[in-house]
């Protein structure tokens, strides 16, 4: 792991290793982001519903 070049090349297997890590990262990040965004959406929607029902 002498240089950044060597690190990225992954001994010739760069495509396989980095695709694997890339898809994994994308999946994990998307799941978290979706959860947070959905949470905010639901809270906003419920608050709107409550405001409408208030006398």
């Amino acid at each position: 792991m002498a240089t950044l070049q060597q690190f990225l090349a992954m001994g010739g297997y760069a495509f396989y290793v980095w695709t694997a890590y890339g898809v994994a990262a994308a999946l994990l990040i998307i799941n978290v982001v979706t959860a947070v965004v959905h949470d905010k959406q639901i809270k906003r929607r419920l608050q709107k519903q409550m405001a409408r029902l208030k006398p």
């Binding site: 792991m1 690190f7 992954m10 001994g11 010739g12 297997y13 396989y16 290793v17 695709t19 694997a20 890590y21 898809v23 994994a24 999946l27 994990l28 799941n31 978290v32 959860a35 947070v36 959905h38 949470d39 639901i42 809270k43 419920l46 608050q47 519903q49 409550m50």
Partner: protein, 244 residues
């Protein structure tokens, strides 16, 4: 003991407990990922047989392990839901299903990406990969069934039945696929993993497994939290919470 169990199952209590737990599991998850990635990508030496391609193991093994673990969690929740009619169990199933399916897909994808440089083909009817593929169908079946049934309570019960029947079948599926694979071993290559005796290789793997577990717990609790708010929107504590 039952009192504690039922207190935990109350949505309001669970919501508050989840709120307290999530920051901690999130932090632990990030630390474990950091340790695992640095150890796995940078510090561990390349395998003498597989070179740097073996590093895919740090994604493949944890996601395969999680795909099984999440299904078992869902099956336990399903049994709880059917026996004690605890709605929270159903919420946990709904929150876990997409995560489990995602882990299974990731395990299959990384398995393929690992297999291509090692065996020369994108897909091998290896016992593990074939079992994982069947597991993906199990997940998709549960998710499809849940979305197909319009009534939420009925969808919960139906998917719970499917999960309980499925968990009984998983050992059978695994055994039969392994047996089938060893029978035809002449045609396919078996997965020879790298030697994991070196602690430099093992420790990052354990860290990544723990990181994935923490990740699942964190995101599952986050999604459960949201669903609790949705389902309990008419209750007073939710209304008080939201009006702040």
């Amino acid at each position: 003991m039952w009192l504690w169990f039922h207190k935990l199952a109350s949505p309001k209590n669970f919501y508050q407990i989840a709120n307290k737990i999530i920051p901690w599991t999130a932090i632990i998850c990030l630390l474990l990922f950091g340790y695992g990635l640095i150890g796995g990508l940078l510090l561990a030496p390349p395998d003498y047989q597989q070179g740097d391609a073996f590093r895919i193991i740090y994604i493949h093994v944890p996601s395969a392990f999680l795909s099984m673990m999440v299904y078992i969690c869902m099956a336990i929740a399903a049994a709880v839901h059917l026996i004690w009619r605890i709605k929270l169990a159903d919420i946990i199933i709904a929150a876990s299903a997409p995560l489990g399916a995602g882990f299974t897909f990731l395990a299959l994808l990384t398995g393929s990406l690992w297999g291509k440089p090692m065996w020369g083909t994108w897909w091998v009817w290896d016992a593990r990969l074939t079992s994982e593929l069947i597991l993906l169908f199990l997940y998709l079946g549960v998710m499809a069934l849940r979305s197909a049934i319009p009534l939420q309570e009925s969808a919960g019960r139906a998917s719970a039945i499917l999960l309980v029947v499925g968990i009984i079948n998983i050992p059978i599926i695994h055994y039969s696929v392994y047996w089938w694979n060893t029978l035809h071993q002449g045609d396919t290559l078996t997965l020879t993993g790298p030697s994991l005796i070196a602690p430099g290789m093992l420790h990052p793997l354990l860290a990544m497994m723990a990181a994935f577990i923490c990740y699942y717990v964190t995101v599952m609790l986050m999604r459960t939290r949201t669903q609790i708010l949705q389902r309990e929107k008419k209750s007073q504590w939710v209304q008080e919470l939201l009006s702040n």
